[in-house]
């Protein structure tokens, strides 16, 4: 397994801002659906190369926040910048072009049932009319990255839940995204499969340094992400020395639509906020 495969060679015409300005910036964002606000006055940012883990119990608006990042939902108030462009009021036609620069892994994978794994992973490349040979090569590399090379011709219905998530990760990675969005990638999976998925995310983070925003309610997944690194030579995830954490991995926490924490793992475990304490315990 070679993590530096052909599918992930950089090649975008519009590289992310290199001046250190945030890839994503939320400013006082609120949204409601026929009732009280689901998200209320949310402000945070994702810096280049940073992995942000959004924690919170089910139903606090984590997935809604993630869908606001790439314009799948529109905020009622506030401003959202993606790659330096304001997207809150951007027409849908322009958003399509911007979204091709992001990769998103949905909660249940959201693979297209009627397409094979090959066509699912290659969906964006097929739309761009990339030649079939080049598509096959890149899909095989992407599937090798998620260790599912043998599923090339299968349909999603014949895959397990964990395999579907891994195919979804391959689909999100194949277009060399400048931002990755993970919506509860381990939700509903057994601990062993969850660890496999987290290992893929750590591998992606450490090999390609793509900035990402990961939503989860599982604190154990967040801790693994923070306390481990991917060893390219060994080809697997290894724990960081005791007391060390990944400096680029930080936390956000939501409580009933409000952002109650924004900081490092060290600050999270020291937090005196009763909700944070209850969540951690």
């Amino acid at each position: 397994m070679n993590p530096r495969d052909t599918f992930a060679q950089p090649g975008h015409d519009n590289p992310p801002p290199s001046d250190g300005s945030p890839v994503v910036a939320f400013r006082n964002v609120s949204i409601a659906f026929d009732g009280p606000p689901v998200l209320d006055d949310i402000s945070f940012s994702v810096a280049p190369g940073e992995t942000r883990i959004l924690l919170g119990p089910a139903g606090v608006g984590k997935s809604v926040l993630l869908k606001l990042v790439n314009g799948l939902l529109r905020p009622d108030e506030g401003s959202i910048e993606l790659f330096g462009q304001e997207i809150a009021g951007m027409p849908e036609e322009q958003l399509f072009a911007l979204r091709t620069r992001t990769g998103m892994v949905f909660q249940e994978g959201a693979l297209f049932d009627s397409l094979t794994v090959r066509d699912n992973v290659a969906f964006q490349l097929i739309q761009e009319r990339v030649p079939d040979d080049a598509i096959d090569l890149r899909v095989r590399d992407a599937l090798r990255f998620v260790e599912l090379g043998e599923t090339f011709d299968l349909y999603p219905a014949s895959l397990s839940g964990g395999m579907r998530r891994r195919v979804a990760i391959a689909r999100a990675l194949i277009h060399q995204p400048e931002l990755l969005l993970y919506d509860s990638p381990t939700g509903g999976l057994d601990p062993l499969t969850s660890t496999t998925i987290i290992e893929l995310i750590v591998k992606e983070r450490d090999v390609y340094q793509t900035p990402s925003l990961l939503v989860t309610h599982r604190i154990q997944d967040a801790l693994i992400l923070c306390n481990h690194r991917f060893d390219v030579e060994q080809g697997r995830m290894v724990p960081l020395p005791k007391g060390q954490t990944d400096p680029g991995t930080t936390f956000l926490m939501l409580e009933e639509g409000r952002l109650i924490f924004d900081g490092s793992l060290h600050e999270l475990v020291k937090s005196q906020n009763p909700f944070v304490r209850e969540f951690l315990e």
């Binding site: 399509f96 909660q107 249940e108 959201a110 049932d113 969906f123 964006q124």
Partner: protein
């Protein structure tokens, strides 16, 4: 309380009509703007056209047969059974062919579109498509509407032909009348205006069944139960709208092509 319920229902109805109008207009304008997804159009044309052929042939044959049976019974009272052919062909081509085909095909395909797209919505496949930078309206909706319009046009011609053939079979084998006379009467009294009337209608009906099926599919919410609800609404509203628009169209077409 009751007034509040009526007010909410009326508001929802107006909002639905507004949403549908915007949705249908956007889907229609996409027919003339690239990218046009031809492979999706051909797949849908096969599903809607070839897939509906058997039900259209069977319903056309039966309807033509019933028309011949009923008309012969009534016309014999006036000694005018000879005009059965004219009656069956005009009724099929001007009215029953387009409406019957529209309703039959919407029962099969508006429901299928609503449930397929609805399932894609609740499993986040539509969001995934948008996240991958592809417009689901262009990729999924516009090809379905274009295929519905195109294939309903041809299916109506098949239904008309089958209806006239069914009427002919009943006339010859059950009513024991002259088959040549039936066909002569069916052909001689047919005008171009009748054919135009019969072939304009399926263009509208195809648009209705395609757009309603996709509209209800794309606004599905509430999981698998919501998919079922969308499917029912799509079939009901497509059928009702086809019959209502037929009433409006017939008035317009009769003014444009007044009967002799």
């Amino acid at each position: 309380m009751a007034i509040k319920l009526i007010e909410n229902y009326a508001k929802n109805l107006v909002l639905t009509v507004q949403d549908y109008s915007l949705f249908a207009a956007r889907a229609f304008s996409n027919l003339y703007r690239p990218p046009i997804y031809w492979p999706e159009f051909l797949i849908q044309a096969d599903i809607i056209g070839f897939g509906s052929l058997s039900i259209v042939v069977l319903s056309g044959l039966s309807t033509g047969g019933v028309l011949a049976l009923q008309s012969a019974a009534t016309l014999s009272a006036f000694g005018a059974t000879a005009v059965t052919g004219q009656f069956v062909s005009l009724t099929m081509i001007r009215e029953l062919g387009p409406v019957l085909t529209g309703v039959m095909v919407s029962g099969r395909n508006a429901s299928s579109m609503a449930s397929e797209l609805g399932s894609m919505v609740v499993t986040e496949q539509i969001d995934a498509m948008r996240a991958l930078g592809v417009d689901p309206l262009r990729k999924l909706v516009t090809p379905r509407i274009a295929a519905s319009i195109t294939m309903l046009f041809f299916l109506t011609i098949v239904a008309d032909a089958c209806g006239i053939a069914g009427g002919g079979l009943v006339t010859v084998f059950m009513n024991h009348q002259n088959g040549t006379q039936y066909l002569d009467m069916a052909w001689e009294h047919l005008r171009y205006a009748d054919i135009i009337q019969g072939l304009v209608k399926p263009l509208f009906f195809g648009y209705i069944l395609g757009s309603i099926g996709c509209f209800y599919g794309m606004r599905t919410s509430g999981g698998t139960q919501g998919v079922g609800r969308s499917t029912i609404q799509a079939v009901v509203w497509a059928s009702v709208l086809i019959i209502f628009v037929d009433f409006l169209l017939t008035q317009v077409l009769l003014r444009l092509f007044p009967p002799l």
